[in-house]
Symmetry: C3
């Protein structure tokens, strides 16, 4: 694996999940793989879970870890070509990426969208240039439009909490009986948040649906449709009640509008997930990528109930990262 | 040991000191204990000594270390229950702590008091909730009201600089001849500082006095009494000269008023420790937790003299941390 | 080696370069040397290359690494003696350095000049006091007036890109045929930058010239002469064209005026290095310490051409640091 940027970098979801669960069983089994290898984790935006879990995964694999928090203004990188750099940017991404590539065997990059210009954000120029110029395998630690380590984690967590068997001849996960119904639902927030997590979750679930692993439904208010390419094959509805009926997993997440790019066009508090709403579900498990604002996005009564698996989900971030790094190390 | 929050988490001071001094003799003897174990050091406030010494101790024990500096505004945690989180806090401590617990075998937490509301600070709500929700052993790296790694270090340093024998049958330290007189004295400062260090030092010295290791005296200006529970058994006086007479150890520290909570009510420069004042002592050793403001808290002439053991004291921070982590690892 | 502050801390340039290139061939050959040793990297100013490369070098040598970013205001250190510390500085360098020395076997320090007062900056008081009080070997990670790890790297890079043989009897590098002509040229910038990199590069090249390794020329506009002690033996000219004629290596760098201390007195864009200018050279390799502002300091057409070796140069930072740390560890 030369890059982990989206679900398209995964050959088989079943095998990827299986690899992660194997590492979860024996975290140090592949410790020799990363000996004398260094991963550089480059954060252009803050991170808690992603940083700790990826660092942990790398250490489990015997790697050295270097963390670069480039969140202060002094670190502004130029991404455009042909610019006379007499302004605020002190270094061009061509040099910055290439230099980091000199010091590291694998690089991770986190960079949030500006949420001003959809075309710019969705071009993923920064991530693309970084990957191109650093010359090393790159793991997305969340880019402008996707958060694939989170989505991979989410799939692992769904598989763990539902009845699947791994058919080791076909190398495929097989749901025992009916496939689980997985629902992604929008929820309110006070800030304009990126679409990276829902885009990515939708992209992975559409693929999981195509591989026969889940049934996938997205629900959101009018004006909050995700960019179409991420939801191809999903059932999309603005009726949250209808979406939640018989759900096995409810994935809650706020995002800002894609249509009215980066704007908050709905503040309807009735979209918050409550225990009441879960009654229509199939005793659904509730998921969220965290951090979650209690009683705004999800009611405390839900987070404090047996429905919530958000902490176990966060814990699984380690195994998603470890499966990805394992693949990258095997190719070196 | 499931928690290191105060002196009450230590069964025997003598054995704890002995354990620390054993590690100081052979820093890497327990290197196998921490193999494949990870400590997460979470700083909600800046740290130099605590961070470096705890990191060093953990590495000596073979542990992996992850440091989280959550000092910027983006990391504000909600600690109250039942709050609609539509304000500045992005994550509730319930989730933040639980998630860190997923990634780490031991956690350390530093969090300073607000110094606005004594009841809030002295409830130690943040530390208590963090320990409860993370589900892993937690080491205080200084909380609102205590700095136990510092106080443990201070006791180690006193033992090193006085004539004690370790009775290995009774497993007790025994002062040879008269017990040392240890004096905690207030000193001036330009900022309102927490009471954590003096509270904690007093709490440890009262316990050491109860175990027959020291005689303990506290001196401060009117209005600067520490909360009573921390000084039970100590001689307390507002007469600094009287306190210093025949002292073997003088522990200098500023703190803001507890009575007039968080305020600076005395700026009397005559409380600064000078060489003159040390003349009445028993050639006392001078201690401070550092950082120390020269010629405001302690005169340079003292810090630059043979009286001062502040650097050796800071060096001992490693061995206090190592003794605590060793106990926690043994229980896992 | 007790200190790495300038070229004067190197006994033989040839042997130092040879040591670095040996490590580049076998990065982990000296891994046992750093076992149970800790390096503390203290940054009073931001760093990308220096931090990552020194950390990498230390890890290659089996060391533990602790990074302290003391870039926020809370960390202001007092360096003057006899000051009543009732202002902004919270700790004196005497204590801060001594304490770090307690926790580390080797220390690295980065501290930029204020660019207000030449005498103060050129006294290198901060670095000198840090080295004195910490009591451990100290590596400069760039001080007020020098950046020796960069200059050592630059020499390594020149040797790699020219025809030298290592005479293992005399333990000396010998250029095959004519010595390379190395030119340091000033270039425009929008900010007032320190003289540390050009001072240091000049100091190393003058020494390399004295050891028969290169011919060295410096060119800059009127008013930009470096302090004389750094360019003794070099050809200095304000005619850039003349300097560039037949050059084998062109080292481009902006600096603020030393004469008119810390000021920008020339903004003449014609000093930027372009492909046109390189025509008069001997197909010169172009070097820069990075970060470089494209189309202000060096034209993109140059950085994107075969002339540029800036990325390989940055990569060599690891081997310079590793050679220095190796020497320090051998002495312990």
């Amino acid at each position: 694996m030369k890059q982990f940027f989206s679900v398209n970098d995964i050959t088989s979801l079943s095998q990827a999940v299986q690899s992660a669960l194997t590492s979860k069983q024996s975290p140090f089994a592949d410790e020799a793989l990363g000996k004398h290898k260094t991963i550089g984790l480059v954060f252009l935006n803050p991170s808690l879970r992603t940083r700790m879990s990826t660092q942990k995964a790398a250490m489990n694999l015997g790697m050295n870890v270097m963390v670069m928090n480039m969140t202060s203004d002094g670190w502004a990188l130029e991404t455009k070509d042909g610019v006379v750099m007499d302004g605020n940017t002190a270094e061009h991404i061509k040099e910055a990426a290439a230099v980091m590539g000199e010091y590291c065997d694998i690089l991770g990059l986190r960079s949030f969208p500006g949420l001003k210009d959809a075309d710019e954000d969705y071009s993923e120029e920064l991530f693309g240039k970084f990957a191109k110029y650093c010359g090393k395998p790159v793991v997305s630690l969340e880019s402008a439009t996707r958060h694939p380590l989170q989505s991979f984690t989410d799939l692992i967590t769904i598989v763990e909490h539902f009845d699947y068997q791994y058919d080791s001849v076909q190398e495929k996960l097989v749901p025992q009986g009916k496939k689980p119904k997985v629902v992604l639902t929008w929820a309110p927030h006070v800030k304009a948040l990126p679409q990276a997590v829902p885009n990515s979750f939708a992209e992975w679930m559409c693929r999981a649906q195509a591989e026969g692993l889940v049934d996938f439904v997205v629900t959101h208010p009018e004006g909050y449709a995700l960019k179409e390419e991420f939801t191809t094959g999903a059932t999309v509805t603005t009726n949250q009640d209808e979406a939640l009926a018989d759900a096995d997993f409810v994935y809650v997440k706020n995002w800002s509008s894609y249509e009215d790019y980066g704007q908050i066009t709905c503040t309807d508090k009735s979209w918050m997930l409550t225990l009441d709403k879960l009654e229509a579900t199939n005793n659904a498990k509730v998921m969220h990528c965290l951090p979650v604002r209690r009683d705004l996005v999800i009611a405390s009564e839900v987070l404090d109930s047996e429905h919530s698996i958000v902490v176990q989900e966060a814990g699984n971030r380690v195994w998603a990262a470890q499966a990805v790094l394992k693949e990258m190390l095997k190719n070196q």
